[in-house]
Amino acid sequence: MKAVKEIQKKSFPFVAIGGSAGGFEALSQLLSHLPANSGMAFIYVQHLSPDYKSELASLLSRSTSMKVLEAEDDMEMLPNHLVVIPPNTEMFVLDGKVKLLKRNINTKKHFPIDVFFTSIAEVHKKYVIGILLSGTGSDGALGMLKIKREGGLTMAQDYSAVFSSMPDAAIAEGAIDFVLSPVEMATSLVRLSKSRQMKKDLLKLSHEQEFENSNPEFKVILQILYKKKGIDFSHYKMNTIRRRIIRRMQIKNLSHLKSYAEILAKNSDELEILSQDLLINVSFFFREPDTFSFLKNTLFPKIIKDKSEGDKIRIWVPACATGEEVYSIAITMLEVMARKNKTIPLQIFASDLSAHVVRAARLGDYSEEDVKLLTPQIKARYFEKHKDRYRVGKKLREVCVFAHHNILSDPSFSHIDFISCCNLLIYLDAVAQRRVISTFHYALEENGFLMLSKSESVGDASTLFSPIHKKFRLYIRKKNFEISTLPSLIPRFSQSTLFDRKSNKVLPSRLSFFSNVHKGQQLNIVGQSVDDLLLSHYVPACVLINYTNDIIEFRGASENFLRHASGKASFNIVKMSRPEYFLELRVAILLAKKTQQKVLKANLELKGEQGLKFFNLEVVPLNIEGEEPLLLVVFGKINDVQVDENTFTAAKKGRGSAGEKTTETRSELMQLRAATLTMSHEHELTVAELQSANEEVVSNNEELRTLNEELETSKEEIESANEELLANNQKLHLKNNKIEELNRYSEAIIVTMHNPMVVLDKDLRIRNINKPFCDQFNIEKENALGEKFYEVNHKQWKILELRRFLEDIIPKNIYLHNMEITHRFDTLGEKTILVNARRVQLKNRRRNLILLILEDVSERASMLKKEKLLIENLQRANVDLEHLNTELTSFSYASSHDLQEPLRKIRTFAAYILKEEEQRLSDSGKDYFRRMQNSVNHMQTLVEDLLSYSQTSLSERKFETIDLSLLIEEVKAELVDQIAEKKATISSKGLCKIKVIRFQFRQLMSNLIGNALKFASPDRLAHITIECKKVKGSDVLQLNLDAKHKYCQISVCDNGIGFDAKYKSRIFDIFERLHSKEHYKGTGIGLAICKKIVKNHGGLITADGELNKGACFIVYLPL
């Protein structure tokens, strides 16, 4: 088509209608519902026979008041006009006018509808409404697509079409906006004519058919599919399923998913169609479960049963693809054999054109998805599982042979019992198909079975195969060896009418074909002989024909009636019949087929040499179980005269004018007959041509459809791959972000961390170094990077020990934890550093790194050192002190001891002198000696006291829990003399247990009690009270005791001379005396010792007194 100018002046809609067989009725219906002034221009293109004048225009004008014209070249398309295509032309639009072109008869493919639609769409674009009506073939599909693409609107006839393949083809292309009945089309057109926004208004409706994947009805549909077909589609691509469902809805002309779901639930055909739709390109084991159960329960047992000893079963699966079907068949056969307990050698040949696919099939490696319909037992018995792949096991491998084989060119297999050939024929053209079918015929054994896929058939090769089971497309090989190459009169795709959309009936299938027809029955021999005789001599001439008018059997002298036609050899009864009666024969056959009743045609003429003869013709339907329907054509006895005398006599009588008239009529009739015969021949030829063209086109369509499906799937795959990529991208993005975050985080850590850090590679080169490191060790970062660690900064870090360790870190994966290194740095002096080092493992092992973090602990180290020194010093000092102490103790002891002795002696001898030389001494002399004695005494006491005082602080601090009362008793025992002397009474109260240093405390008590005795009053009897009680520090505020602490208060009170209270603190001072030596002996150390002892116990001692009343000494011991 050359480029056409878009004519915008024409602003009315063009309705381009295409139709073929059945289109006329549809169009008539449509037209009768259209007003005459719709304002649209109509053009109708119908498939016509090229040779005959078409009455189409006049016939159509009966249905409409619009003007109906046959198209002429250069005709204008006007609104409210209907233009029809003339025969033998191709019509297209140019410059807004209709152009006619004589049809090229030589081209087999004739698609006038496509041609016209395409051209009008190009010119008038969105002003075009395309309507496709009933017809065979697929003309118009592409044209509709073009219209749609150019912005126009498309409608296809729905199930009301007598022949739906044309509308279906267009729908399958996705070229159809609406699927309507002719009446509905008319209504829509009317509506459109009124509206300006043509497409939009109508398209609004189409959206009702759209639905979302989340639609609950969608799920219902999936459930129905699963329940009834056993296939789980919920894991399939939802969009694909959705689109297929929408398409089916369009075809069924439904707008709501719910209504489609309802139909699906009730109508198993629709379910079948939908699941087939969805299953395209999906292959897995036992894909057609019902087919396989048919094989398992019916066909294979039959095959096995018919086999005798020593036989083999041979099966051929051409177009085996990846082998699922083959192995499924193998499994089924093996299972049946096992069940029947018969082991017949089985051989399955599987072939495919693609070597690659054959290899895959031979490998027999399948996924979980592929084997999902298999039971676990089957899987276990026939497969070996590796991870989640299943591989066929020995049992299957033994029986299956895979071959790379071209079914059209390579020699075929033979002696085959069963051929399963699914989805091969649809990809072949008519010629190839015929070839394949005959190959199959050749390959199969007598009574071998052929099974095709549910959408295939043997077509016109029905001489070779008889259908046995319509649903499963099962055929049995016919014994007829003849290869018929002429197409039959019944178009191939009328197979679809087997589903009979009009009546919604499925024609009955024959189940009980396994009769014993082939096995002979017991006849008695006599009877048989009689029958033979009758047959040979008395049977009238008759032939047995099938529904395609091919003679199968001859009986009797049929040569009188039938003769061989010239041309290609054929057994077609119509061809073989004589022109005289061929019409009647034809009619009779049709009638018999239609009514299934015997049809009698009487007085048929037969031209013989002896003139005109007459005979009767009978056509009897003959239906045999297990065979295709047949007809028996019986040629009756040839008579000279017509059977009905009266009629003939009357005719004879009518000679003269009547006779002439008769002769005229007869000759006219003869002419008509001849003409009709020719016409019929021509018609047959035309039909045949159309047929083959149709077939080719349809198979092309099928191919295209398959390709389309593949493309769609690819598109889906790409889309999903895209989605995956997007998702991955997203993920990567997120990961990237995360990485960036982590990077920033770790950088922040590194930067904030104040420990020196350095990263080295495996050669100990510095990869990274942080600021604290540079600062603390006077390194420039730029200089350091890339340098070897121990060479950096004038080999500052050349520490052999460290280097050895570092070199081991990566290879041996050791790590250093707080390894202490002391090293003298040139500029920094000696430093002690804790080294922590670890390997950082990267994906590429050669890039492993060492992470070094240091802690300068030099200060701490030196401090520690100093501490250590100090401690050592202290310890030494301690030791020295101890020694000193010991010396001092012994010194003190020795000195006291040695000092005491001379003093004692002086006293002793002074006493002796006084005693013994009393008379010889003067008073003053005695006095001098007494003074001397006193001094010595005093000195002795002083020495004792001093020693005691010094010892108090050097003694052990061993605390014991002692009973105070017992202690007091001990003291009392030692002071017994003094107590007696003073006639003192000592009472005690509340004496408890106390934790004290025993002998020190004893000394304390002794001192206190001794003092109390010493300072007793001469005026009264000495009475000493010792009291002990527990107090809280807060009770005795004036003494600054710890308020929270508890104390044991021990008081020693006397009624002696007392003392002036103002001296109460001074009396504890050493050498402090309140009285002269003459009056009261005392060194002034006693109370100092007491104070010291109490201090050793962490306590406090106080004194209180009143002159001439008494004194009280109170000791507070912390508890």
Binding site: S892, Y893, S896, H897, Q900, E901, L903, R904, K905, R907, T908, F909, A911, Y912, N937, Q940, E944, D945, L947, S948, Q951, A973, E974, F999, R1002, Q1003, S1006, G1010
Partner: protein
């Protein structure tokens, strides 16, 4: 009493010996005193007079050569004289020595007195105890006798 108590005095101090003798004589204590001047002599004496051992030993601690403590130990471990009462007679007793002496079987400890009269008093007590110990019950006496302030060093 059939005879005098024989006292063996081991003391290196001549003055102390003099005083001891004097006190015994002047107070007419029923005892006779034999003296040795050091530890060695002491042990020798005992050895030589095994058949005629003294009744009581007054042992000074601060002696040259063999120390009093060692003599005490020796005496108390010798099969012949272990039962001899040994009074440790010293200028001073520190807190450590007293338990040691008690543990090792000293009879009593007697601090050297400044007054002769005091010494006599304690000797009488000891002799009484000694004799009573043979015949009857012991008098209740503190282990360390003669300390002015018992708990002073």
């Amino acid at each position: 009493m059939l005879r005098n108590v024989r006292i063996l005095l081991a003391d290196d101090d001549r003055d102390d010996q003099f005083v001891f003798f004097k006190v015994v004589l002047e107070n007419a204590l029923a005892c006779e005193v034999v003296s040795v001047y050091d530890g060695e002599e002491l042990m020798r004496y005992l050895l030589n007079n095994v058949d005629d051992l003294p009744d009581i030993i007054f042992l000074d601690l601060n002696m040259p050569l063999k120390k009093g403590e060692d003599c005490l130990l020796e005496i108390k471990s010798h099969k012949d004289y272990s039962k001899l009462p040994v009074v440790v007679y010293s200028t001073s007793f520190n807190k450590d020595i007293v338990p040691f002496l008690q543990k090792n079987g000293a009879y009593y400890c007697l601090q050297k007195q400044s007054e002769g009269g005091d010494l006599a008093k304690y000797l009488r007590l000891l002799l009484e105890n000694l004799l009573l110990g043979q015949d009857g019950e012991l008098k209740e006496l503190p282990f360390v006798l003669g300390k002015n302030n018992p708990f002073k060093y």
